[in-house]
């Protein structure tokens, strides 16, 4: 049980104590226990690490309740460090070394070499084209990022309020409570220019001022949207499980600004880890008197409750979420009123996204000018993205708004996997669109993306290589949306069903050119007459692939060809060697990155179509021009 802090001075004393501990030269072992690394077995690794430290005769501290002795080793459980694909990750402080793909069997060596002797285990280091990187900051994936909102994620123990306080946590909430009026808080947030990170990009300060304007309401609510419905984005989940206290602190500040005392966090069903870490954080903050009644003796109250979703994408929409929290079917409501005036239980409600809240403490601590110092004029600050798909480095990244797509895909993502060609990036999930080669130098911000028919959305960035079929991608999203349409209004219910059918036909080689016109027509109808954002934006992936890759749709329809080889019922492009002209020089076999080519010297070579990844290297290098592309069917191509 933690001691309750009764006033500001007591808080400051505690903060000074943990700050000193945080800055002490004690050895720290940080084991990443974010969702990705947990999937790779890091919870066991963490437990074994603690046991091993103790067994080796060292003093081991886990919880920072008391000051550790000088030679004690502090084993911590952190949130996502960001580089999930290389997990489980282990960081060693104070050196800042990063070990990748750490297994339980590696623990003895880490203890013996690193902890006992201070030596680096190069075997566990990350290597980038052969170059060894000792520290996180030496890895291109990290040093091209600007980690602000996620600055603590992966650096402190995600289950310890002491760690958070020691690094400066809750000082912004304390400042807002004691030094600022609600109006000043709202003013600072407006001045920062921050726009909502949940998709629509609505100015956060403006929303807060609208809720605050309801002076006579007896109850007001703050709601945190942790539904993260975009199927392929996990920034909000990483944030909730990696720095739960930062989200809570942002919500407390919103409570001060809007003069609200009750709050809910609505967490997606698939994130049990977020739920448990947030619950733990709420419990700890309540014990210390930073949540609950009469916070630090200020007379201000704030209560946070957690609601777990039950698997309905549409509940990410504000009025549907309201219904769900109230215990109803999560269907959107017709917008007669605005949520800021009539929201949850009919009261003024401030709904913001997880990442939006997690940005607030730094705005209050460092000021609006600091916040605006990165980003663009219309889109200030940084944005977290979930970088996934066919890139070399996947994971959670945080970059200044306005960074170009090229910097993200090439600079941070390390380019396309397996030497394939870049084809497109799908951004904004099922309501978003795709960006292509010609958009590589487009700045990623709210307005630039809108101008090309895409949206930042929540921040899913899926990189697709040339083996991705764009028609299939459109079908994939439509399939998802069709399943998730709540069915309340006809345009969305019928429109998504029909669009899905058409896309399926096209993928099966049964489409017609008229289908393309019908797709566009339905899209327009849905955008105009759907009740909620789900239906209004549902056609975006279709429209945007049609705009950028119409040729692929046409190939599917008139040539029955899927150039990516994804649509099984259609032909695909295959590489083949003409036995009559091949001189058997073996060059292609040596160059092929996947060893798909075989043959004896001076005899014709053959390509195994099932192994070939269609990189084109062989064709480029063949001195006899014997390699060609033909349309064939998967599986039964013979040479």
């Amino acid at each position: 049980m933690r001691t309750k802090l009764n006033n500001r001075a007591e808080f400051q004393a505690v903060q000074a104590k943990y700050e000193a501990i945080h800055n002490s030269a004690n050895r720290k072992i940080l084991v990443c226990c974010g969702n990705g690394c947990v999937s790779s077995g890091s919870l066991k690794l963490y437990e074994e690490m603690k046991t091993a430290v103790k067994a080796s005769g060292l003093k081991c501290v886990v919880e920072l309740m008391e000051e550790p002795e000088k030679d004690a080793v502090n084993v911590k459980k952190t949130g996502c460090i960001g580089f999930c694909e290389m997990g489980p990750l282990v960081k060693i402080e104070p050196e800042g070394w990063l070990y990748t793909k750490v297994q339980i069997s590696d623990i003895p060596e880490i203890i013996e070499s690193t902890i006992m002797k201070g030596e680096f285990v190069s075997r566990l280091a990350y290597r980038n084209s052969g170059i060894l990187a000792k520290k996180q900051s030496e890895i291109p994936f990290y040093n091209k990022q600007t980690r602000r909102m996620l600055n603590y994620c992966g650096n402190i123990d995600c289950e310890s309020i002491e760690d958070y306080i020691g690094i400066g946590g809750y000082s912004a909430a304390v400042k807002a409570i004691f030094d600022m009026t609600p109006e000043q808080v709202v003013e600072e947030v407006i001045e920062s220019g921050i726009r909502g990170r949940g998709g629509a990009g609505y100015p956060t300060g403006k929303k807060w001022s609208q809720v605050a304007a309801n002076k006579n309401a007896d109850v007001k609510y703050i709601v945190c949207n942790g539904d993260e419905g975009d199927p392929g984005a996990f920034m909000d989940g990483s944030t909730m499980e990696g720095t739960p206290h930062k989200v809570l602190e942002g919500m407390i500040i919103a409570g001060i600004a809007c003069e609200a005392e009750e709050a809910y966090i609505y967490v997606r069903a698939e994130y049990p880890l977020s739920v448990s870490r947030l619950s733990m954080a709420i419990e700890q903050a309540t014990e210390m008197g930073l949540l609950g009644d009469n916070i630090l003796g200020s007379g201000k109250n704030f209560h946070i409750h957690i609601n777990q979703g039950a698997g309905a994408f549409v509940c990410g929409e504000g009025s549907a979420m309201t219904n769900s929290i109230e215990g109803n079917r999560g269907m959107p409501r017709a917008k007669l009123y605005h949520q800021v005036d009539v929201g949850l239980y009919g009261k003024p409600t401030c709904l913001n996204n997880v990442e939006t809240f997690a940005n607030i403490p730094d705005i209050i601590n460092h000021g609006a000018a600091w916040f605006k110092s990165v980003g663009t004029e219309g889109s200030t600050g940084t944005k977290a993205f979930a970088l996934t798909g066919n890139v070399n480095n996947t994971g959670i990244i945080e970059v200044p708004m306005g960074i170009t797509l090229r910097e993200v895909v090439v600079g941070i993502g390390g380019g396309i996997k397996n030497y394939q060609d870049f084809k497109a990036v799908q951004i904004g999930g099922p309501s978003g669109g795709c960006l292509t080669y010609e958009h590589l130098d487009l700045p990623l911000d709210f307005d630039s993306l809108k101008s090309v028919g895409a949206i930042i959305g929540s921040g899913g960035l899926v990189v697709m290589d040339e083996n991705t079929c764009m028609v299939d991608t459109a079908r994939f999203f439509m399939n998802f949306i069709c399943k998730e349409s709540c069915g309340k209004c006809t345009p969305c219910r019928e429109g998504t069903t029909r669009m899905k059918q058409i896309l399926e036909d096209i993928c099966n080689g049964e489409g017609t050119m008229e289908d393309l016109d019908e797709l566009e027509e339905i899209a327009r109808m849905m955008e105009k007459s759907s009740l909620c954002g789900l239906g209004k934006t549902a056609a975006n992936p279709v429209l945007s692939t049609l705009a950028n890759f119409r040729n692929e749709y046409e190939e599917h329809i008139s040539e029955k060809l899927c150039r990516a080889g994804v649509c099984q019922k259609l032909s695909q492009k295959v590489y083949a060697i003409n036995a009559a002209t091949c001189i058997g020089c073996t060059k292609c076999a040596r160059n092929c990155p996947v060893e798909a080519i075989t043959g004896q010297i001076k005899t014709p070579h053959v390509i195994d179509a099932s192994k070939c990844i269609k990189c084109g290297t062989c064709m480029e290098g063949c001195p006899a021009g014997a390699i060609y592309i033909e349309n064939g069917r998967k599986g039964n191509v013979k040479y």
Binding site: G36, S40, A233, F234, Q308, A310, G389, F480
Partner: protein, 160 residues
């Protein structure tokens, strides 16, 4: 058919103050216990908190996660989120269906061993494609790995 322990339901109801507004949380707690929503439990809840069965059914059927049918001993969740999709999770799903003899229309085996569910993003996209068996995550899956995984489970259950 499982036997519903009404004392346990009472405890859950108590935890949620017998409040109608908490119906979703109550059903989640029941499902956590039985891995589906037994009809008898829902009837009991309806009576205790004073809502109609129609309302309870309405809520339960709206949300994807609630199941009115008993699930298999092994619940295999195949992620079909975007990140997993571009890394060919469709083929993994196909392999899982083939190995279990199940399909989208028939999610559970008669022997009560397997249930196959499609989910959208489990938050481990960096390790796509992802398959979860009960609570254990299997990352970077391929059709071959999926088949091997199910054979392993079958072997464990003494099946061939």
């Amino acid at each position: 058919m499982v036997k519903v322990d009404f004392k346990l339901i009472d405890k859950i109801l108590e935890r949620y103050d017998y409040d109608k507004g908490n119906i979703i949380a109550i059903m989640q707690a029941i499902q956590e216990e039985y891995r589906y929503l037994p009809q008898a439990a829902l009837e009991y809840v309806a009576e205790k908190i004073g809502v109609s069965m129609a309302k309870i059914f309405g809520v339960a059927t709206f949300y994807e996660n609630f199941s009115m049918d008993a699930k298999g001993k092994y619940v295999i969740k195949v992620c079909r989120g975007t990140a997993c999709h571009v890394r060919k999770s469709a083929n993994v799903l196909e392999a899982v269906y083939e190995a279990t003899g199940l399909s989208e229309g028939k999610p559970s085996t008669e022997d009560g061993l397997f249930t196959v569910e499609i989910v959208s993003c489990l938050g481990a996209c960096g390790l796509a494609p992802v398959v979860v068996v009960n609570d254990e995550v299997h990352s970077k899956m391929t059709p071959e790995k999926a088949q091997a995984l199910i054979s392993e489970l079958k072997a464990k259950e003494g099946m061939r």
